[in-house]
Amino acid sequence: MRLPRPVASLRAALWVVLALGSAAIAWGSLVYFGEDLAPFMLEKLPLPLEDVWMLALKVHVVAAAFSLPACLLLSTKLVIKRTPRFHRWLGRVAATVILFALVPSGLYMSVFAKGGLPSTLGFALSGVIVAVGMVQGVRTARARRFAEHRRWALHVLGQLSVAVISRAMLFAFDAAAVEEQLAYVVSLWLPVVGSLVLVELVSRRRRPSLAIWRNHEALLGARSLRLRPDAPRAARGG
């Protein structure tokens, strides 16, 4: 389906912003691997099991530096249509990194997040959406239900984009001298919930029909299952 030009331009602009934001975060994260403690680390200390938190932070930033650019690449038409094999392999690697490194390390760090319980819950919700989205994304891709796969993959990308959007919001809030804790919580929850809602809206808008038997991919699946008994006669060729 070809997108209207303004929507396509907006999508391309968002893609570029996220790619640049991801690069900026990765560049800024190099301080975590130096000899000195970075300001983000200093704010947290003292912590129980300090070494575990430091390890989780390092695992998280490395996993994030790979995951967001990987998901951006996976979302491009070029990779999906021209290099489907590369799409599959990159998807498998991204899923492994996200499910076994990014999400667990993020969930552990969320316990000690600035802003207390609201921040912990915000990060945890985002992590759960990413994990569920990724598992479902893999399952639907394996079942060749690509419309659903797209929806779940977009949820993963949407939540990964929170890293970029919330940092931009934090910068803006600081410039406006908004109270620090409030700024932190708002710039976390707004993109987390906003991405969730936006992806659902986009997915619903693009879905030709909610009736599963009218989806051509579902039809293919139904044929292989010798047609669903609950499908209308037209779908069964009757």
Partner: protein, 148 residues
């Protein structure tokens, strides 16, 4: 009466003399905190990424000396407690909003030229805020000795 007049300057000078050391201590303590903590911190923050979840660098900082008199710790060291307020936001210089009180709290040993900052319940050398992984100082540091 004559004696009263003769000693009047001394008698009158007493309260002033009592205040002078405090004013001098406070001034030198503030200068020490500026030199050891605030200026190096501002220089370090110039290189800090703004695209981070860490607290944004302050636009401006001011040091307040909270003690009117020098305190003595258990080892006999004299110190004063200080607080640093930080100003955030892209506001005009004379705008007095955006100040966060007590962004940093610590103590200064003026005669030893040492500054400590509070991290959790303990105090660490000021270089900790400059990124040095320094352990908390001795428990008596910045703690007034109890007199019984």
């Amino acid at each position: 009466m004559l004696a009263l007049f003769a000693f009047a300057p001394t008698l009158l000078a007493l309260p002033v003399a009592a205040e002078e050391p405090h004013a001098a201590d406070a001034k030198s303590a503030a200068a020490l905190v500026q030199r050891v903590l605030i200026k190096p911190l501002a220089a370090k923050e110039d290189d800090q990424s703004r695209f981070s979840r860490a607290r944004m660098p302050a636009q401006e900082r001011r040091v307040r000396i909270l003690d009117e008199e020098l305190r003595k710790d258990a080892s006999g060291g004299s110190f004063v407690i200080f607080a640093v307020d930080a100003r955030h936001g892209m506001l005009p210089p004379n705008d007095d909003t955006g100040w966060r009180r007590d962004a940093i709290v610590g103590c200064a040993y003026v005669d030893r030229g040492e500054v400590f900052v509070k991290s959790g319940e303990r105090y660490r050398p000021a270089a900790f805020l400059l990124g040095k992984n320094l352990k908390p100082a001795a428990e008596a540091t910045c703690q007034e000795a109890k007199t019984s």
